[in-house]
Symmetry: C2
Subunit: 340 residues, 2 copies
DNA sequence: AATATTTACGCAATCGTTGTCGGCAACGTT
DNA sequence: AACGTTGCCGACAACGATTGCGTAAATATT
């Protein structure tokens, strides 16, 4: 890993490093002939400026940190795809961290990011996160932060989210219009913004159609398979069974589908099933799966753009916005109207 | 982003930066009392060593670069998950790059990585990559490189791969034992190592069971949806139709499934379908999907471990190994034996 | 008491690069 | 001839941290 430095060029040409530096940047006060020679030599030695030295000098790293609960989750990997594409085009690198839905890991990740001197942070909160002092501290020190998908109201900054309320409303209304009356809602962690928004949408749709809200039909669960199965079991062992389940994540939807199949509960005849998912194979599932789809890629792109704008503009009066992207309801067989 | 430096501590305590530095690292030649004061002050100022300054001095970044074709692909996101977990535990950060299956992008990514001074590179080659001069150059300069999944024989270094030959052999044999005789193989780019290995396994299984190898049953395709559909169309419009298709990627398997369903071709009665996939929802597909599964997470972990061992050990006599991890054949309905 | 050793700290160089300053020529201007 | 201007370039400091070397004072040794 011996890489030529500006000094090597200077030594080879018997010039000072200042002159070489200026020649490389095309400064007007360098003789064109000297420039030519320097550039030639740089080419020959395959000179590449050392970004670490620049970072030290300019006090910035041209890297942004991304903290997600799990990379290995279609929604987040699609979002990261969007983030990477924007960052790449604007000359930034993307450093990835996973919180694994753990608050403690998230805190440690944030500490790493801070000491790493990334230029900005994109984050989607872990399911365990209930307070955000770790982010507040970072933010108060001037670190640009943009939330996507899962945010906290306690920090005033840009947020990019799906229209969870409308998505849940549309999905629930679709279930109602399909003739379902006992609609369960399998929610994620009650502390997450997305959870609250989706439950609001769910409730609003029920209310609009005069269906009473039944607390027993709303279940929260974390992201472990065990917990999901336990909660689904609970739901299915109540005196009044739901005739539809609206789940809020890829994994939850799949866990439901699996359990319902195992129990030979017919979908959608006995139970309609729908999810807030980003699975590309939804249409190939059995039955094909009705989903409220979030624009994950676009969310990542928009969040990255907002972040890099913050990073690059020194405007001390940022007008923070919350970008709300529309969801899309794709209706398939798992919520088909049963005509019998 | 005003972060306290060692100078701030020195100034506050009226000490030299050398003393502060040594006190922080617990050097024996610093008075215990002085150490106490320094540590206290560092705590108060929330001092964090600047990794960029360290990088410059030590000529290393404590970051590794990862180049994958697409993050948004279950196999690679699972592998990155494994990479991140190992890197995290060993104090390294992970910088992500996507080649989008493009050779040109891959070259640019490698250039970025090189000038970025990452300490090592994990790479899975793009589908377009036919020569690896860009990597050779990097490798010859001493940059530790470890391949995972898709490697090149032209570079002598660690490789972590699935046992593609055996996986393809097992899968093909399973199809044969299910009564299939006209087994097509939908391969990826012919330049990829995994493609060659899998075709070998496929051929070996055919040979073992006395089934003639038919060139028309082996089709290559790149990673675009259009190309996949074109190739599948070609396969299905031949005079002799296959009675089984063995696909080699998630996307290809899904494209196949979709087209076969659209054409009302019954699976597995008319056509068995099997893939080299890492979809977690394989069992929930319709029909449930037989797959040769690669240990993606473990591949990422092993590759990261090998890379970090190289990075940290200055042993100038590395014995390069090719780690071959076993695949697992999960038999489901899409290749069920039809008894009629 | 004179010398040797230990303790505890500061100075300055270093990593690669850039910005500030200054300087030395070779001009042009009066 | 004396002065100002311009073109072109080098020395030095700085970014944050570490480290080899030097050294004063305190202590130990003879």
């Amino acid at each position: 890993m011996e890489i030529a430095t500006i000094k090597d060029i200077a030594k080879a040409l018997n010039l000072s490093t200042s002159t070489v530096s200026r020649a490389l940047r095309g400064s007007y006060e360098i003789n064109p002939e000297t420039k030519r020679i320097v550039l030639e030599c740089a080419e020959k030695l395959n000179y590449r400026p050392n970004p670490i030295a620049l970072s030290l000098k300019e006090n910035r790293s041209r890297a942004i940190g991304v903290v997600v609960p799990e990379i290995d989750n279609p929604f987040f990997s699609q979002a990261i795809n969007g983030i990477e594409s924007i960052a790449y085009n604007r000359g930034y690198h993307v450093v990835i961290f996973q919180s694994h839905e753990s608050y403690d890991r998230e805190v440690v990740n944030i500490q790493h990011l801070a000491s790493r001197r990334v230029d900005g942070v994109l984050i989607s909160l872990s399911g365990q996160t209930t307070h955000v002092e770790h982010l507040k501290e970072l933010h108060s020190k001037g670190m640009p932060i943009v939330f996507f998908d899962r945010f906290s109201d306690e920090i005033n900054t840009h947020k990019v989210v799906a229209d969870n309320y409308q998505g849940a409303f549309d999905g629930t209304e679709h279930l109602i219009k399909s003739g379902k009356k006992y609609i369960a809602h399998l929610a994620a962690s009650p502390t997450l913004s997305i959870t609250r928004e989706r439950i609001s949408g769910y409730q609003a749709a029920l209310e609009k159609h005069g269906i009473p809200y039944n607390e027993d039909f709303v279940k929260y669960c974390n992201f472990s398979i065990e917990d999901m199965e336990k909660v689904i079991d609970e739901l299915l062992s109540q005196p009044i069974l739901p005739d539809a389940i609206f789940t809020v994540s890829d994994r939850l939807a799949m866990a439901c589908l699996k359990i319902l199949k195992k129990r030979n509960i017919r979908i959608p005849e006995d139970m309609a099933l729908m999810g807030f998912t980003n699975l590309k194979v939804a249409e190939l599932l059995s039955p094909s799966f009705t989903s409220v789809i979030q624009p994950a890629l676009e969310m990542g792109q928009r969040a990255a753009e907002l972040l890099l704008d913050m990073v690059e503009k020194k405007s001390k009066n940022p007008v923070y916005q919350t970008v709300k992207l529309p969801t899309e309801l794709i209706i398939r067989d798992s919520t088909k109207i049963v005509t019998d």
